[in-house]
Symmetry: C2
Subunit: 190 residues, 2 copies
């Protein structure tokens, strides 16, 4: 994923020791070609896992999730942050705390769209402390589905979420891993 690395080096903005802003190509404005490459890369890495569904969370996971689902030729399911009035037929829910936003949200998926037959790949744009991923993994568990792995565009390794999840036995594939943003300097792993 040289294209992704170049984009981050050129257009990523380091806002603080913890925040890398990628608003110009990932999570506000979206570069379609880059997203297609990201989707293909996740599909390549998980090609042997017979994935039946890609799961992500609205809103900024949807673009990554859709191109991954396209490449794997399976449906995308995105967890919702509001229980829609039309989601009356039963749902799984999970509470997710966002350190960035300093608030927690409940997320929902309708029970009928994730079952014990599913082999699920979770994808998201960022992995920091892993709260959103733990919430999504809980949804998969509640459905008795199989969590095949997690695909992450940018892992902020210094925030520890990835390590915790890997130690719990989850396979995580991160396209970019950041060792540090300290002093306004982007220090990548590898």
């Amino acid at each position: 994923m040289e294209l992704l690395k170049e984009k981050i080096q050129q257009d990523g903005q380091i806002i603080s020791d913890h925040i890398l802003k990628v608003d110009s190509f990932i999570n506000h404005m979206v570069d379609p070609d880059l997203m297609l490459e990201i989707g293909h890369e996740f599909a390549r890495r998980f090609a042997k896992q017979e994935i039946t569904k890609v799961l992500t969370i609205e809103a900024s996971g949807i673009a990554v999730g859709l191109t991954t689902a396209m490449a794997l030729k399976v449906p995308l399911l995105f967890a919702k942050k509001q229980r829609p009035s039309t989601l009356e037929q039963g749902y799984y829910s999970s509470n997710i705390y966002s350190f960035t936003k300093n608030q927690s949200v409940d997320v929902f998926v309708a029970k009928q769209y994730i079952t014990s037959d599913d082999k699920v790949l979770i994808v998201d744009d960022f992995l920091a402390r892993g709260e959103a991923l733990r919430g999504m993994a809980s949804l998969v568990r509640q459905a008795n589905a199989e969590l095949v792995g997690i695909g992450i565009v940018i892992e902020k390794a210094f925030q520890g979420g990835g390590q915790q999840l890997r130690e719990s036995g989850v396979r995580i594939e991160s396209l970019i891993r950041i060792n540090s943003l300290a002093g306004g300097k982007l220090d990548l792993i590898d």
Copy 2:
């Protein structure tokens, strides 16, 4: 868009006289092949307009927006419903009232990503009373960009938003137009 019509007829659920639920293929679970076709169809209809940017609103507009942006080979910009802490360099905002959710939200786009040079195509999954579209059109106007048109997957024509917007001079292309959902019966226009 026969595929879309078939999907709606087969899998759409009429919840009330005003609500058609398409959660199984558009706005909770997403069918990637259908989304690709939708994106290509919008690109075909607006092929001559030299569009430079596709604008939508999180969350359920993103999948439609991304495939349209792919087909047009331009960036996707999605308006955010929360002003992110990292969006400090100035933004345009607009207030949108949702009759479905009975609440209003402010939506934001960063000023730097939409300029007076842009020819903007707005896309969204649904058009009902047109509140979200008016909000997005306002963002385009604030930026002095050109609003080339609007692409809608499903227009609930009986709610009048499309008529109002067309009368104001906006070109709207809706892939499916619903005349009525009364009595649990899907009555399509054309």
